[in-house]
Subunit: 181 residues, 2 copies
């Protein structure tokens, strides 16, 4: 933050406000304190019988790699609504949500992932503007080395494990640095 | 947002960027798009035997009412770390976390709550600067009409129900307007 969004002054420092215990963007002109907080990414693991739906990314980062539909949660929506919106935007997929399936913190990039699990209601999916391809994969056909993000890799692994047990439980974890898969 | 935090210009409009589908704070001077996303509140339901710990709020909103320790998640921490930090700040409480217990969306105020469940490791708790009192309550002694927020009321109700079943499961929901309790 270079300029105060309240008053336009460039007298913005990164220092600890009185009574606080960590640095914030402080405007010494108007006194505004600008908080910057983690962002929520919402998404879905869409399945149909023994297959899961993946999208090949048309955009950076990780263009050309495969991922589950997900994106930044927007103001005014619930996390489930956001997850379904992303599935529509990226894969034109219609999904009936079963429940929240994985919650991952990624503190080093200030993100929290909320991933739902849901069944595709039909196979009329198709790439949206941010996807090159959308496809269903059985476990053995998943392009594991080409999964775009560790959080998606973990969520997919949990899913196929749980499928074998016939029991789906919430998975939670912290991704604390860039993982080599 | 009145001024662009990138360039300091006051030429900030709230309109739909090219290729987007909803209005953002757009700077027509430097082209910056300023996204505003939901915030995450992290907290804990601390218990000890058949009692739960509540804090009487020393600050607005809902000053003088009772709540579970919770607050805005900070950059650089995991949600569990944030929940424990809040427990310390508000109640000087030490807690051993059992797991994530409730996830509530409150879209009308752009918040997502992640509430953990955890056992107090001792009874050396005490009010922090944002609390007037910190106390343990059995179910029948909880000051139900004086619980500060519907999300906390729901989480407490779930907890005492689950305690009777001897089985704690994740609770998830959406609070879509101000509820009368
Ligand atoms: Zn200012
Ligand atoms: Zn600008």
């Amino acid at each position: 933050m270079k300029f105060c969004s309240q008053c336009g002054s460039n007298a913005v420092t990164f220092s600890i406000p009185k009574g606080d215990d960590r640095p914030r963007h402080l405007c010494s002109n108007c006194g505004a304190i600008h908080y910057i907080n983690p962002r929520v990414i919402v998404g879905v693991l869409p399945y149909l019988n023994d297959r899961v739906m993946l999208c090949k990314r048309a955009i950076e980062p990780r263009q050309g790699l495969w991922t589950l539909p997900a994106g930044f949660m927007e103001n005014g929506e619930s996390s489930e609504e956001g997850a379904l919106r992303e599935s529509w935007e990226e894969a034109r997929a219609s999904i009936r949500v079963d429940g929240l399936y994985s919650v991952y913190d990624i503190p080093y990039i200030n993100q929290v992932y909320l991933m739902y699990r849901g069944e595709l209601t039909d196979t009329n999916f198709a790439p949206g503007p941010e996807s090159l391809e959308v496809e269903l994969f059985r476990e053995e056909d998943v392009p594991w080395p080409e999964i775009a993000f560790p959080i998606m890799h973990k969520t997919l692994k949990h899913y196929f494990e749980d499928s074998k047990q016939g029991r789906y439980q919430l998975h939670r974890g912290v991704i604390s640095r860039k993982l080599k898969l």
